[in-house]
């Protein structure tokens, strides 16, 4: 009787049985190998098995944290959301699918996972940290989908702070736990914004369409899509541009703090240069120069200000990115005499590098001209450049 009650009580928060069995099976494999070695009388590498156990259980806790939001938050579950819209549910009532707030059951799951780790050192705190990382990351996405951009980016910054402290697992765990009240407020705010009828939610639903034709179901082809009399929707709101830029800079700093300066200076920089090209492509897609290159030369109109204004932000970003990264490298070499993998943290260089990333991101995401207004009022040549020659094209040319 009591067992049945406990099982029913626990099932309110537990993820799908596949995930539970996956976690148990993984742990059983580790223990089986460990016992086999002991049974054979071989010397078991205790440190290795301790690490393997904690690693696997932390990974399981991370997955559990993700499932706590992804499974129960209606903003991330389209079928659930659509069903909820047919009910009289409001934010002050409990969610019928299960709670997304942290519950005592979560403590029991954490205690069970930590118990399975059989470790009395602070390293076992990796398990709850893993859980909170999964929980908070998914919550940040859910909050943004619900339209609560402020708390989404706040939690995003908090995740960076948790990762910043990862070398001291006790402090890391403390920082993670200190974000729980913010998470609870974020959940309440996200639910109060129900029914979440915003552009991001709708575009998310659209992106799920795997079939190209389904994805273009609302498109009308050429010319009606490109000469639409409707006011265009904003591509990226300013607060998202600022939030994403701050996150990019902050995470670059976190990586550099852990000695990943080369990672930031190479992979981050390459990614940013890719973003520079991407921004140019987004603007020029279907909206080409009003006059060709030869026309520009022959008429002496080297610059067409109202069109060429789109190149200012990418050019500035393309200057700032290498300048800031090379500047950071120069500082490190000046200080330590050389640059090496997992370079020792040097804060002026890290600040220079991450500020460069944040500034370039800000330029690319926020600096004008606003795409929607530019497409309406700038001098350009509209060209329908759908990948039209492919048989998978959703359009047919007359």
């Amino acid at each position: 009787m009591i067992t049945r009650w406990i099982v029913r009580w626990m099932r309110v928060v537990l993820p799908g049985s596949e995930m539970v069995w996956g976690c148990i099976l993984g742990e059983m494999v580790i223990e089986a190998v460990y016992l086999l070695i002991l049974a054979r009388g071989w010397p078991a590498d205790e440190a290795f098995f301790r690490g393997a156990r904690i690693g696997w259980l932390s990974f399981s806790a991370w997955g559990y944290g993700i499932s706590r939001i992804a499974r129960f938050h209606p903003a991330l579950n389209e079928q659930y959301r659509k069903w909820l819209e047919t009910t009289p549910w409001t934010a002050d009532r409990p969610l019928p699918g299960g709670p997304i707030m942290l519950r005592p059951q979560d403590l029991i799951v954490m205690a069970a996972l930590m118990g399975l780790a059989r470790d009395s050192t602070p390293l076992v705190l990796t398990v709850p940290v893993g859980f909170l990382l999964g929980y908070l990351t998914t919550l940040a996405f859910a909050a943004r989908y619900c339209g609560d951009w402020l708390f989404a980016y706040l939690i995003g910054m908090g995740l960076g702070a948790i990762l910043l402290m990862v070398q001291s697992i006790e402090v890391c765990c403390l920082v993670a736990v200190s974000f729980c009240p913010i998470a609870l407020v974020a959940i309440q705010r996200s639910l109060r914004l129900y029914p979440w009828d915003n552009d991001l939610m709708n575009s998310k639903a659209l992106q799920r369409q795997s079939n190209l034709e389904d994805r273009y179901r609302d498109r009308l082809g050429w010319p009606h899509d490109f000469l639409s009399p409707k006011a265009p929707k904003l591509m990226l709101p300013y607060h998202d541009g600022i939030g994403l830029s701050l996150l990019a800079g902050w995470y670059a700093f976190v990586i550099e703090f852990h000695g990943g300066m080369i990672i930031v200076c190479t992979y981050f920089s390459m990614g940013m240069l890719g973003a520079v090209l991407n921004r140019i492509v987004i603007y020029m897609k279907a909206h080409r120069w009003p006059i060709g290159l030869s026309g520009r030369f022959s008429t002496g109109r080297w610059i067409i200000p109202r069109y060429d204004v789109i190149y200012i932000a990418p050019v500035l970003a393309a200057i700032i990115i290498p300048a800031s990264q090379w500047g950071a490298v120069a500082m490190v070499i000046w200080k330590f005499g050389r640059l090496q993998p997992f370079q020792q943290f040097y804060w002026p260089a890290a600040i220079c590098s991450s500020l460069g990333i944040a500034t370039a991101s800000l330029l690319l995401l926020v600096m004008g001209p606003a795409l929607e207004r530019w497409r309406l009022a700038a001098p350009h040549r509209i060209v329908f450049d759908m990948t039209s020659r492919q048989s998978a094209s959703p359009f047919v040319e007359l």
Binding site: H224, I291, G295, R301, R381, S393, L398
Partner: protein, 258 residues
């Protein structure tokens, strides 16, 4: 009313349109005619806003094209453009496509559905209206594309070669009457291009003749006859305007053969 002032357009070195000044009165049907590659579609593209002229302005109903977001949106609400080669969503049925376009232009649903039924009937697409566009013949696709322009109830229609593209005789007849009706009853402005002048005699209020990117004549069919002093068919009048030596060359050709 459409006004073009000092419009010059070129992609590369050679200007396609040279200092075009043109006024098209509201409630008239104007045909732009000229040899291939002389700038007819370019002129229509400039009016439609798909091209931006290097010099000059395009004014539609008192609003300058691309001068501001608000004016551009207002122009787009009152103007519809149909290129000679539109792209149609192939998985949607003709009816769904027309409903989508009508809603884009905020046509009330009841009026829209009624108009669509009448358009499908007049273009003999009642049954095919429920088929996906990919299954249509070229002529049927042309009819549905034309219907998508007509369903908008715009004040200004910019149609690039509406009579070509596989339209059958009944479609041509229907379109001629619909365009004339739009101008006479709804006081709409219709600007269309065509490489063949035979159709224009009975529907065009005025004809713009383009040659080498310049307007060499803009008058009614009767006015053009007076200018050329030719009482023959309209294609002969146009030929004399665009290629004054064509008839002489033809005479020489037949003389040599005999």
């Amino acid at each position: 009313m459409i006004q073009l002032e000092n419009v010059t357009q070129h992609y590369g070195v050679r200007p396609v349109l040279r200092k075009i000044d043109l006024t098209i009165d509201a409630g008239s049907l104007v045909a732009i005619i000229g040899p291939n590659g002389m700038g007819k579609s370019t002129l229509l593209g400039v009016m439609a806003g798909t091209l931006s002229p290097q010099h000059g302005t395009v004014t539609i109903d008192g609003l300058i094209r691309k001068s501001s977001v608000e004016s551009e949106l207002e122009i787009r609400r009152s103007t519809v453009y149909l290129p000679d080669k539109p792209w149609l969503p192939k998985s949607r049925t003709g009816r769904e496509y027309l409903i989508g376009v009508g809603r884009l232009y905020d046509i009330p649903d009841a009026e829209l559905l009624d108009h669509i039924e009448r358009l499908l009937k007049v273009f003999e697409l009642e049954k095919e209206g429920d088929w996906p566009i990919r299954s249509y013949s070229a002529g049927q696709q042309k009819k549905i594309a034309l219907s998508s322009a007509l369903v908008t109830r715009a004040r200004t229609y910019l149609l690039d070669e509406p009579f070509s593209g596989g339209l059958d005789p009944s479609g041509i007849l229907a379109l001629k009457h619909i365009l004339r009706h739009l101008v006479d009853r709804d006081k709409a402005t219709v600007v269309m291009t065509t490489p063949v002048p035979e159709l224009l005699e009975e529907i065009a209020d005025s004809i713009v003749v383009l040659r080498q990117g310049e307007i060499i004549a803009h008058d009614s069919p009767a006015g053009l006859r007076r200018v050329i002093q030719c009482s023959g068919p309209l294609d002969e009048v146009i030929a004399r305007l665009i290629h004054p030596r064509t008839l002489e060359n033809l005479a020489d050709y037949f003389e040599e053969r005999t």
